[in-house]
Amino acid sequence: MLTFIQSIGASVIGFVRELGKIGCFLLTALFYVFTPPFLLNRVTRQIHFLGVKTILVVVLTGLFTGMVLTLQSYYVLVTFGAEARLGSILSLSLIREIGPVLTGLMVVGRAGSALTAEIGIMRISEQIDALDAMALNPHKYLVIPNILASLIVFPILTSFFIVAGIWGGYLVAVQLTGMAPGVFFGAMSDSILLNDLLLGFYKALSFGVLVTWICCYKGFFAGVGSGFGAQGVSKATTDAVVLSSVLILVCDYFITSVMIFG
């Protein structure tokens, strides 16, 4: 019985310690954001890595999400004779929820996992130690450029997702079901408010920081508590993807709660 309680206690202490470490990791990174040197060329490179290389995936996902959402919604709305609200439902869903969330998940899958693996390999092959030994701050080289890049990349990718989704919705609603373009787009312009756009924008920013923070953290400490060598990097990458994806959904709920009812 005592062993059981001890193991629960150890797990709780381990969990709290890990939370503290993750928090300190972000605070350290944020502290160094404001101290020179400012490595703008590295931020640019990470914008390319996180953003430019993810555009195709995000646009394709957005397009088909918009298409299927419109198709499903149309056949429900038409039974109530409310198909004129299709554009409104589609655009609000994409802007407020689906756009930021699915963009975040796509970036986690495409770039977040690669980020963790890259930093993890640098950790186990002592490349991070080499930076440190040269008196170069590893946070400035490996973490901050990703966080800053994410602040630029996530809102832009999210907007690409939303535009592609609306275009997909247009193809299905107007070209397939024969709805008048004016009805489709008119419902959108009537229902979208500034607060809806801000909600999507804040979510995109939050998910950007969240994804790069977790993925960099997991890579940075690969091999520490996750096994060593290739296995350690593999576990760190899996943990980063799972944790980032779950936290995106958890944060999505809380941001929505605060913005709508806060």
């Binding site: 092959s125 130690d129 080499a130 030994a133 008196a135």
Partner: protein, 242 residues
């Protein structure tokens, strides 16, 4: 110049260093020998500030590296270079860019000056003409020599070598030993070498010490260590302990 005082380090319940005391003089080539997994690499990581001791000090010219922060720590680290066991080269950069990296990031030298310094450093370690290759395209011995060149471009006063010849064939090992000797002669560098390459390492060092069970068992000249009467040292030299 380097003074290690009563250094202790534990990982969980495993006490790796249990009161290490050692002095290395300026310009000296010093070897730390000992079996694998006995804390030699942990010790060297304390010497460059990559690890903090649980107790004790590592002093470089009287400055305790474990207690330094900010600019003072950077200034001290700038005087020390380290060659990691597997080179720790940046695998996404070419040989040239690896060697140029500290110059680009830490100095205000122009492209021409950086180019000259990098080529000179690569020439110094016998790697002229290999600039465009990537770490994955060169041998283990070449990787270690690139790591030496990366250290040299910053003109350090002290170089720490973590097992510079482990896993290399005797010809390559000898070329690395020659490089270390040449550096000592030309630049009066202080070299601290971790090794379990016996007896090859004794050819190039002034003094050596043996680390066993977290403590220094014996310190002496190469001859004194090779003719040691301490049973553990004798056993290690005969290859009876790993």
């Amino acid at each position: 110049m380097i003074e290690i005082v009563d250094l202790h380090k534990k990982f969980g319940t495993n006490a790796v260093l249990r009161g290490v005391n050692l002095k290395v003089a300026k310009g000296e080539t010093f070897a730390l020998i000992g079996a694998s997994g006995k804390g030699k690499s942990v010790l060297i990581k304390h010497m460059i500030g990559l690890m903090k001791p649980d107790q004790g000090q590592v002093k470089i010219d009287g400055q305790d590296i474990g207690r330094l922060h900010g600019k003072k720590l950077v200034q001290l680290k700038n005087r020390i270079g380290i060659v990691f066991q597997f080179g720790a080269l940046f695998d996404s950069l070419s040989v040239f860019d690896n060697v140029a990296f500290p110059l680009q990031e830490k100095t205000r030298l122009g492209a021409k000056q950086i180019n000259d310094k990098v080529l000179a450093a690569l020439d110094n370690v016998g790697l002229k003409g290999e600039e465009e290759k990537f770490p994955a395209q060169i041998s283990g011995g070449m990787r270690k020599r690139v790591a030496v060149a990366r250290c040299l471009v910053m003109d350090p006063e002290i170089i720490l070598f973590d097992e510079p010849t482990t896993g290399l064939d005797p010809v390559i090992a000898n070329s690395i030993y020659s490089t270390i000797q040449k550096l000592q002669r030309e630049r009066n560098l202080t070299s601290f070498i971790i090794s379990h390459e016996i007896p090859g390492i004794f050819k190039i060092v002034d003094r050596a010490a043996m680390l066993h069970d977290g403590r220094i068992i014996q310190v002496g000249t190469s001859d004194e260590i090779q003719n040691s009467t301490v049973p553990i040292v004798q056993k290690f030299l005969k290859g009876e302990i790993e």
